[in-house]
């Protein structure tokens, strides 16, 4: 694994977001939706508590829609334009390319997330929140975004069509989130054995993110997202290898 190559691929990909209006449109919409959901859905003011729980708790739902928009181009565009032939005949391994592209998308998401800092300033102005909790929630949200991105990157490698990559990624992300949602679990718990319900719920982003969004960092939740990212990226590399020339 050549760290230089990962860095160069990441840098190129990251700058690629800013070569078109995509990055700016995305960031503006992300900030609008995050703000809207914090204040109107999460009732930031009415809760009367100095924390950012309303902000962070909405992230799974925002990410379902927004993260696939970041990940859809990663491989589909390379395959469509044929530049994948160029990339894969440079002295770069598939894993370096997969990781470099993933890190670029992740860094971009992190940037978008950081640009919500006015909220942090607001809450610190209005009261005295536990900034440790906010920092932990930030890390957790970023980690979950990585999970969504890894899923999206892998799906992007299966097609030349960015729209297909987007739609399929949204659906798969939705499944991963909903697996822990009350209604879905109730549906299963009425007939399925307890073990199965636990397995389904343990695969859910919600289950693992819930604690994190309250600032509780549990190693098991961290490990869940880390291994989720690793597995999807591994699958991503296998798919790129198998289908790059199609």
């Amino acid at each position: 694994m050549n760290m230089h190559n990962i860095w160069f691929i990441m840098k190129r990909e990251f700058n690629g977001y800013f070569a078109t209006p995509v990055a700016y449109v995305f960031i503006v919409i992300f900030l609008l939706l995050a703000g809207f959901s914090t204040f109107f859905v999460g009732n930031f003011f009415d809760r009367g508590e100095a924390d950012l729980y309303p902000f962070f708790s909405m992230h799974p739902w925002l990410y379902i829609l927004l993260i696939p928009a970041i990940s859809m181009r990663l491989w589909a565009e390379e395959r469509k334009s044929g530049s994948i032939e160029l990339l894969m005949t440079l002295p770069v391994s598939v894993f370096e390319a997969v990781i470099g592209k993933f890190l670029a998308a992740w860094a971009f998401t992190g940037l978008a997330l950081l640009l919500n800092f006015p909220l942090w300033i607001t809450v610190n102005y209005l009261g005295s929140p536990d900034n440790g909790v906010i920092f932990a929630s930030f890390l957790g949200s970023l980690l979950m975004a990585g999970g969504f991105l890894a899923i999206g990157a892998c799906i992007s490698a299966t097609t030349k069509n960015q729209v297909i990559a987007f739609v399929v990624s949204v659906v798969v992300s939705l499944i991963f989130v909903l697996a822990g949602y009350g209604i879905v679990l109730d549906f299963f718990s009425s007939w399925a054995p307890r073990v199965l319900v636990d397995v389904i719920s343990s695969f859910s982003f919600l289950t693992h993110y819930d604690a994190i969004s309250k600032g509780v960092i549990d190693m098991r939740d961290m490990l869940y997202f880390a291994s989720l990212i690793a597995i999807w990226l591994f699958a991503n590399a296998l798919i790129v290898n198998a289908r790059k020339a199609d």
Partner: protein, 315 residues
Amino acid sequence: MTLRIEIEDLAKHFGEIKAVDGVTFSVSKGEVLGFLGPNGAGKSTTMKMITGFLTPTRGTVRVCGYDVLTDPISVKASIGYLPEGAPAYADMTPEGFLKFIADVRGLRGAEKKRAVASAAEKARITHVMFQPIETLSKGYKRRVGLAQAILHNPPVLIMDEPTDGLDPNQKYEVRTLINEMAEDKAIIISTHILEEVHAMCNRNVLIANGKIEFDGTPHELEALSRYHNAVCVSVGGVETDALSRFVESLDDVAGTEPLNFNNGIRIFPKGGKQITLELSERIRSNGWQIESLYVENGRLDEVFRTLTTRPGDAA
């Protein structure tokens, strides 16, 4: 001669289709190998296997001594590759694109700067370095691809139809560039433009239906033509029929056909022999005055057609 590319029994099957089926050849330093064949013959597939983009169904590829299956990174580092259609990152500028390639190729600092500048100059793209690649014309896009391929001064250069879609001036420039680099590199160029065989190559491999049909110099390729060393003659005041009858009675003549201009005939020698001198003497000693006489080299398009179509094929 240093062997740079060694290919042995290389094959690629896509299901039932044998795109490449047992190809063996090697290329040394100083050789410019023109890879000929009709569309779909397996040229691009072979190149994609040499550059490590496609995994062969069987066979081996060695580039500069490295095996593409066991050490693909070293193989890729030794090759400059221009894929078919010269794909690039459309939203980058040639400057950013070439810098990225230089980074990945391991060039740093002053060396990188020099490599980018020199490749841009050789490919003649210095004045479009800061325009997005997607806004460039087809010819310039092709040249950006070319600059990318030669950037790290690779010992092996592989180019899939480098002059496709270029105008005659651009073609000339690309050929000049390739000729300049030919001396210290091993180069493979695929093309179906037959005039390029003479303009660039000192060796040809002709492939059809995934198999090699010819491997030799451009001159040897021409020699396969039935027009090779054929002599076209016209003689003043003599009927074509009489001339034909006389010429056909000579030992080394296999046959004649009338030319549809100039009242002359084309004379085919036996076994592709060089018969010009003898022929002109015999005609003159017959008391006839030769109006025009020239020798044909052979026709590449005819050889191409003969080698790439099997008897019974519709095409």
